[in-house]
Amino acid sequence: MIKKVAFAALALSLSASTSFAKTQITWWHAMSGELGKKLEEIVANYNKSQDAYEVVPTYKGNYTETMTAAIAAFRAKQQPDIVQVFEVGTGTMMAAKGAVYPVYKLMADTGTEFDPKGFLSAVVGYYTDTDGNMLSMPFNSSTPILYYNKNVFKKAGLDPETPPKTWQDVEAYSKKIMESGAAKCGFTSGWISWVQLENFSAWHNQPIGTLENGFGGIDPKLTVNGPVQVKHWSNLKKWQDEGVFQYGGPVGGDDAPPKFYAQECAMYMNSSAARAAVMNNAKDFEVGFGMLPYYSDVDGAPQNSIIGGATLWVLQGHDDAEYKGAADFFHYLSSPEVQANWHQFSGYLPITQAAYDLGQQQGYYEKNPGSDVAIKQMTLNPPTENSKGLRFGNYVQIRTIIDEEFEALLSGKKDAQGALDAVVERGNKLISDFAAANQ
């Protein structure tokens, strides 16, 4: 017994001394389930690859919870070194100049090798300031694509290898599918705000807000009530009434995936990162992938889609050794091998050109048809002012407003113009509140 205790004490002191020798880097993240396991695997590999640093990942709940936890921790001076923040939190993080250690500066200060040009411009455009400096480290970026049920297409007499290109196609295909009895509904969608408004606008080269969608200043105005968006939202309402479209709920749209998996809806728009889940759940049918549909009568469509997902922000208030470690870890994280592996596993975009090239060399895209739809769609055209992304303060709340007004539209309380006007009016108020608080 005594021997056992002594041995345990020895083991404890040994393990304590080894962990003291390494500098600990804390990383708060929002990846659960399979993605979380993969993330821990990446970190474990990094920790094994060198002796100086030990990255400690901690799951802090969903994106919102992780971000608010980090902010609360910052106020209590207990902040982690690295925190994963979703794209709509970018405006808030950027404005917090005293709280954030910009990545370009971190890499320069620590003398870590770093080539901003190696990253896909469509990805990093979202996270650079007006001078072109990268403020956070891209990690998991995705873009919405179209998933469709090839078996249902076949049953309805459609070509299973041809996804619909335009919204006109979506409507015609849906009606054919419903009339033939192959499925009950045409399509559903996750993330209404992200897919059917923000990406819809970028894809049709329509401005989401003034001042280059908010990239050019802290007090932009939303402009999502233009004729193209109004037309789309009134169509969605019309399609809902006809049963062509089924609503999957607010925020991420939790009811949308089961509608697609159960073969109730033949088509489904959601993040490219939903790919793993779709493949796992599509037990009795084959899945096809396509780009988002567009209206062929809109000039400039299709343009390019914009991203979602999250980046890694470094917070102020730590010592140099930890920052050196964070920079070293970022260097590892953006290496082509790590990135290509993460991208292929998850369906998130490869964030660097090198990771994309590596996937091509490995023949990954040929073996997995449709896995590069997201990348092709993102890089279809060089981004314009309208399709670079968006950056508004208080955007987390504005997302909620978009959901609310969309529900008001579907329940018949408002028409498309009224709902989108309300998004603009209520959203602008939040943006100017934010500007006032951060002046």
């Binding site: 902010i71 609503y247 607010p250 089961p258 208080n394 609310e404 309380k413």
Partner: protein, 294 residues
């Protein structure tokens, strides 16, 4: 009513005995409340890097905001709905259990069970049953011709959260009513019966007046419950939607403060919420209590 008054000589001991309770109240209630009041006069960025004193602007903004006025209205409907629904139903169940002689304990146990369920779990349960896509209840309702969809219909959503919030509270109310009923001497009811009063008359003239302290207590507790403790139910079922149809005040505080990171507005809302509860409690004790017979 009090006829005898005992005088304790020791001047310090009573304060000493009160001290732990006072300390707890001070640290866990007064201090955070004071923080909330202070913060409600400030405008801060989320990280707390820049702070500006804005006076009553946060409050003014709230009352100019249609979504806040909507939230007040929604809270009123919700609280009154839950209080009436859960009290009336609990009373009926308690009367039924009380008049039942053989298996009273079994019924009591069964009826109390839901109270042991955590609010979030209760919320998830109802969310599952009424989910428009996968739930069993909408499926059955559709069979009888009602198209249930609380994702889109504000009315459906309100009915859902009232049911979910009441479900738990019914157990609690039931226990108190049953205890109250059992405390009523059988002789009173028998005397009324001999005088020729039917069951309804006996209930309204004898039983219910004797239950009035219990009812009064439950009204206070239920209103406070719906104001504060129903957060988890809302969060798990509707998240305040659709289009804010079930966005009660306490949920809005969370949404604006924790999700939206608008600390000033959120603090102002919680101060108002605190004021409402203080006011309601005051009204109840000042005016309603007088009509209650102990």
């Amino acid at each position: 009513m009090q006829t005898k008054r005992t005088i304790f000589g020791n001047k310090i001991l009573p304060y000493g005995l009160l001290l732990p309770q006072l300390a707890v109240t001070l640290i866990f209630f007064i201090w955070p409340a004071a923080q909330a009041v202070r913060q409600s006069f400030l405008r801060e960025d989320p990280f707390g890097l820049s702070t500006a004193f804005v006076g009553l602007k946060n409050y003014a903004a709230l009352f100019a905001d249609p979504s806040y006025l909507n939230s007040l209205q929604v809270t009123l409907v919700f609280s009154v709905g839950v209080a009436i629904f859960s009290i009336v139903l609990a009373l009926i169940l308690a009367l039924a259990a009380d008049s039942c002689i053989r298996s009273r304990n079994v019924y009591t146990t069964l009826l109390v069970w839901p109270y042991a369920v955590a609010p979030a779990v209760a919320g998830i349960l109802w969310w599952f049953m009424f989910n428009p896509t996968i739930g069993i209840a909408p499926y059955m309702l559709r069979e009888v011709g009602y198209n249930w969809n609380h994702r889109l219909s504000g009315l459906d959503a309100m009915i859902l959260v009232i049911m979910a919030a009441s479900w738990k509270q019914i157990s609690y109310n039931f226990l108190f009513f049953l205890a109250g009923l059992q405390a009523i001497p059988q002789s009173l009811r028998e005397a009324a019966a001999i005088d020729g009063a039917g069951p309804a008359k006996r209930f309204f003239t004898v039983v219910f007046p004797l239950l009035s302290p219990t009812t009064f207590f439950l009204v206070v507790v239920n209103i406070v419950y719906t104001m504060f403790d129903t957060f988890a139910v809302i969060h798990a079922t509707t998240k305040g939607g659709p289009a804010q149809a079930t966005n009660i005040l306490v949920y809005k505080v969370f949404n604006d403060g924790f999700i939206g990171l608008n600390m000033g507005s959120s603090a102002a809302q919680s101060v108002i919420l605190m004021g409402i509860v203080i006011f309601l409690t005051f009204i109840q004790f000042r005016f309603v209590e007088r009509r209650v017979q102990y």
